[in-house]
Amino acid sequence: MARVAREMVEKAGINVDELLELLVTNAAAELTTFYYYTILRANLIGLEGEGIKAIAEAARIEDRNHFEALVPRIYELGGKLPEDLKVFHDMSACSPARLPDDPTDVKAILQVLVNAERCAVRGYTHICNLTAGKDHRTYALALAILNEEIEHESWFSEFLGEGPSGHFMRQGETSPFVRPFMP
C-alpha cells in the first residue's frame, strides 16, 4: 500500500473504502465483460455479424486493459481483489453481458454490447465526479478509461441506428488513452 498516497486522498475528503469498493466492482465489470465479450464476438458471424466483430474485439481487448490498469491503483490505496473468482464475478458493477437467447440475432447482441458500455460510462463518470480535484491519480485513470468506454458506446450505438458516432475505427494499437497506465 502507498500509505502517504492513501492519506492524501483521505485528507482531500474522499471515503477511500467506498472508492476502493467502486474500483474493485468496476474492475470486476471489466474482467467479466472481457469474458462475456469473447462469447459475443464468437457469435458475431455471417453477413451482419462479421462487420461488427472488429469493434467487438477492440472493446473486448480494451476492457481487459482497463482491468489491468485498475488493479495497481486498488492495491496502492490498500485494497485487494477477492480471492474467489466467483465472488469477483458476482460483485461486478454491471450486469453480465450474456449472449441473447437467440445468438443469431445480431441486433440483440449489439444491444447487450451497448448496454454494457453505457453501464461503464456511468460507472467511470461517477468515479471521475467523486475524485475530481481530490484524488488526481484515480481521476486521471478513470478519465482515461472513460474516454475509451465512450468510444465503445459510440461504435455500438452507431450500428444500432442511433446516429453517427463521429468516431473512426482505431488505427494502430488498442487503448490509446489507458496504455500509459498499464503495468
Binding site: E18, S92, A93, C94, S95, P96, V121, R122, H126, N129
Partner: protein, 78 residues
Amino acid sequence: MRRFTLQELARYDGKDGAPAYFAFQGYVYDASGSFLWRNGRHQARHVAGTDLTGALDQAPHNADLLERLPKIGILVRE
C-alpha cells in the same frame, strides 16, 4: 398500491434473503431482481430499505432507469 412507512420500508433492506425495496419521489420500487442491487447495496453507496429521493442528483443516471424496476408501492409519512 401497497403503502409503506419509512419504518416498514426499512425491513426490506435486501439482507439475509429479504427483498430489496427503496423509495424514490413517493413511490416504492422493488430492486430484488436486479443484479445491480445484490444484497441490498447499489454502487457502494446506496442501500435498500431507504428513501433515495435525494440521491439521484449525485447518480450517473436519470430517473428513467428506475422505471425498469417494478413499482410496488407508495411511501407515506407517519
